[in-house]
């Protein structure tokens, strides 16, 4: 077999198509020559909420005493607003992706860290309550001193039956409508599970029992399909070491 080059090819230009570059991140099926698909889970930094500066008085103040009185009055107002803000504990700005990542991280950490274990996580309509256990109180204290405190997430530490607990409340918007159990069934058939999985459907519930990787795979599939905020979810870490996920459609 010999190759004949046309004049355009001699100039470095060929008349054919573009050789394909496989990218299996793309959805299966007929592929284009190139695909720009990617999976992005880079850690997003939570931007601090910047308070708007107080408005400047427009009128010129001649009297120095009056100026100081206004400064003192403005300072008092700022202190009162700031104090009220601290005591009223406004909801911090935390994205749903970040909350889900935190829960997934805790499920993973429970697999190899003995000192901290995820006990339960409940995705409710307006908050996600995550409960973590530890044998040593110091482990929980160190945990709350870490980045979770920096995110300004309210938490409560307590002790019950010789076990130490920390309960964190993440802000959440889980009241979206449109979730159906049929969608969950379809998603389960698309997800690849380990051979330790057990799935159960009832009229109102979808239940999944398996390894941590099974639960994580299913949660991420739900998130990718925009479903996670359409359901009420609970994740339990069982004594056997397995994880149990219970999902219910939000009530209309």
């Amino acid at each position: 077999m010999s190759t004949i080059r046309c004049p355009l090819q001699r100039l470095g230009i060929h008349l054919g198509g573009l050789m394909f570059s496989p990218n299996f991140i793309a959805e299966p099926g007929i592929q284009k020559e190139t695909s720009e698909e990617s999976w992005i889970y880079l850690q997003k930094k939570v931007e601090p909420v910047v308070e708007a500066p107080p408005a400047q008085p427009k009128e010129k103040i001649q009297n120095t005493k009056a100026k100081w009185a206004i400064y003192a009055w403005a300072a008092s107002v700022i202190i009162i607003i700031a104090s009220a803000g601290m005591f009223m504990n406004p909801k911090p700005k935390v994205s749903p992706d970040m909350v889900l990542n935190q829960v997934v991280d805790l499920i993973i950490e429970s697999g190899y860290m003995k000192e901290l274990q995820l006990a339960e996580a409940h995705f409710n309509s307006d908050y996600v309550q995550v409960t973590i256990t530890a044998g040593e109180l110091s482990a929980l204290q160190n945990f709350t001193l870490g980045y979770r405190k920096e995110d300004n997430i309210p938490y409560e530490i307590f002790r019950k039956n010789d076990i130490n607990y920390v309960s964190l409340n993440f802000p959440w918007e889980g009241n979206k409508k449109g979730g159906s159990l049929e969608t969950l069934k379809a998603l389960a058939t698309k997800t690849v599970f380990s051979n330790k999985i057990s799935i159960k459907f009832t009229d109102n519930n979808f239940e999944l029992r398996g390894r941590s990787s099974d639960i994580i795979s299913y949660l991420l599939q739900m998130a990718d399909n925009g479903l996670i905020q359409k359901f009420t979810l609970s994740v339990y870490h069982l004594e056997s070491g397995q994880f149990y996920l219970k999902v219910q459609a939000n009530q209309v």
Binding site: M1, T3, R5, G12, L18, S38, W39, L42, S217
Partner: protein, 297 residues
């Protein structure tokens, strides 16, 4: 950008950053890890990615991966004008339901003259494990490719292979069993494997144009037997190996054929350290090519 490629239990990596003069390589190397439990493939890849990320430490971990070609399935079908019904019919004829539950099928157009599609079956479990691991590692995966197809992207980006009317990507394998891609006018004509025995060769398997595969096999044997001083079947030939016989690579390279080039990215890319690049030992980095898709080198 961290480019990782798998060859058996070896994971080669090359980290590069953009610079005014093109990609600048900051790290390269390899790690070894056997798959201990096929049921826990997600944990296997997690440990590999985590280890390479910690060795490179380049801030936001953005990477590409090229899988060993033994992990995927290949087939071809006739599907003029990319007819999806025809492809589905072909899949129904050749695969069973159990296989379809665990494999995702991707279809790529081969040369327009042949009207064939190359089908690559990619395991759902591996695909899903990468997605999960990217989430756990707070990372970004920019591309997921496979073996010699990733090296072909590298040949285009590093060495402008596509400026040739035809070119061959030649991966020297173990026991003289090689893998080849033949591209003509920017289209895949044949993907095949040959065995280079002493005086004659044979085609082990092929997808696409069988005549072209037979002809290239003869051409390679002629070169091997010193009866030809140039490859006549393709304008340019790009040679590499990942775990094959380095002696064979050195043999062909020593022939100083005018249209044979070693497919080594480090022979083209600049590195941060003024190191002397070993032109043979770093050849496995060829399969990190998918990291450079669309990049001016």
């Amino acid at each position: 950008m961290l480019a990782i490629s798998q060859s058996g239990a070896t994971y080669n990596y090359l980290n590069w950053i953009p610079s005014e003069s093109g990609p600048l390589v900051t790290h390269h190397g390899s790690i070894q890890k056997e798959l201990e439990n096929p049921d826990r493939i997600d944990e296997h890849y997690y440990e590999i990615l985590d280890k390479i990320f910690s060795q490179v430490q380049n801030g936001d971990p953005i990477c590409t991966f090229s899988l060993d070609s033994s992990s995927v399935l290949f087939s071809t079908c006739n599907a003029k004008d990319k007819n999806q019904e025809m492809i589905n019919w072909h899949l129904n004829q050749t695969h069973d339901d159990e296989l379809n539950k665990v494999i995702d099928y991707y279809h790529f157009a081969m040369s327009s003259e042949s009207g064939k599609m190359l089908n690559i079956g990619f395991p759902k479990a591996i695909r899903q494990s990468f997605q999960t691991n990217m989430s756990l590692l707070k990372s970004k995966l920019n591309g997921l490719s496979v073996g010699i197809f990733s090296a072909e992207v590298g040949a285009r980006q590093w060495m402008h292979a596509d400026k040739n009317g035809s070119y061959l990507i030649w991966k020297i394998g173990k026991k003289k069993n090689d893998e080849l891609l033949y591209i003509q006018n920017g289209e895949l004509v044949s993907y095949f494997s040959i065995h280079r025995s002493g005086k004659k060769g044979k085609v082990n398997w092929q997808f696409g144009d069988s005549v072209a595969a037979e002809s290239i096999c003869k051409d390679i044997i002629n070169v091997q037997n010193n009866t030809s001083k140039k490859f006549s079947s393709a304008e340019q030939v790009y040679l590499y190996t990942t775990d094959g016989n380095m002696k064979d690579v050195k043999f062909f390279h020593a022939l100083e054929l005018e249209n044979l080039t070693l497919l080594n990215p480090l022979s083209v890319l600049e590195t941060t350290e003024d190191e002397k690049v070993h032109e043979y030992n770093t050849l496995p980095l060829a399969e990190t090519g998918n990291s450079f898709g669309g990049i001016d080198v």
